[in-house]
Amino acid sequence: MNEALKHIILVTTDSDAVAAFNTYLNPNAVTLSNFASGMGAIQYIKQIGEADLLILEENIKPLGAVQTIHYLIDNMNYSGSILILSDSGVSEIQTDEGAFEVLKKGFDKPDLDWVLSLLSENKEQRVELNSKPYSLSYLSDLSDGDEAFIFESLKIFNESVGKNISEIEELFGKEHYKEVSNLAHNIKPSFEMLENNLGSTICDELAHTQVDSSKAEQVDLLKKEYLKIQECLKEDFPDLFKTV
């Protein structure tokens, strides 16, 4: 993650909670990834590593906060800060992995200031659990493991997404924000096909929220994520980069 930009993963289907986060958080300081299930967050964390703060709705289905915490800590050695979003009125919830503080539903600005203070206490660089920023599972499933198809798809990713990201940078610089949104919308499935959730999330944000000069960090982060994938592909598939 970009050092200046803190990252919160919020697992909830409570649209009021998501709206409150989006209202109160400064998008230049904090990026928010929202998931409607614990499983979605687990997959995401497997790919990008720990966030600066993970907030889990207590009774979300099918995997509640307690079960998600159990999975993350026991199976993935998750060590980041976790809060539980609950309407139960208790200040903390006890699990087999310890007690976790509660953010009460219906929270307001002072409560979120407290959440943000947790972020500033949490300055340690997170260790990525999965060093690879991409996965070939989707392409492999789609093609029944056809290596030529997978290779060709990676080549297309490398060339087309690289070109589109350069265009996004250029258009952003020229304040052509509508075209930035369109291009982000166009390349989102490419990140999804390589199961890179961070790239997909950023594309989604650029495609479906107001783009203006405040999104510079996101554009930068998207490029960095692409370059991270490209670096990894260079190591894993050097033939992709051979010029004829």
Partner: protein, 120 residues
Amino acid sequence: MQRILIIEDNPMVVRSLEFKLKKEGYEVVVAEEGRQAMKLLLEETFDLILTDLMLPFVTGTQIIEHIKKTYPNIPVIVLSTSTQEDIITDAFKMGVDDFITKPFSPSELSLRVKRTLAKQ
């Protein structure tokens, strides 16, 4: 052999659709933008059209409108992202037959294509 026209501008999505549909025995023709699609529709015949909604030059909505007016017997499946609910609803109002979310599930693609063609 049944012929499918894919109208889509993400090359990775195009390649995946092409690979999967050819493997299932369909003949596939690709248009990467709306104008090219309009030209192909004039010159060739198709049994099914898979189209994106956000395309350069001529939008997917304009293409659907054109197809439903000019070639009402060709079924249309919309390729969408999960965040385009309003646009998908509008597309259904225009008479599209089905939609598939990108990136598509291979088995879902097969089923929806077969089902739509079988309705013909």
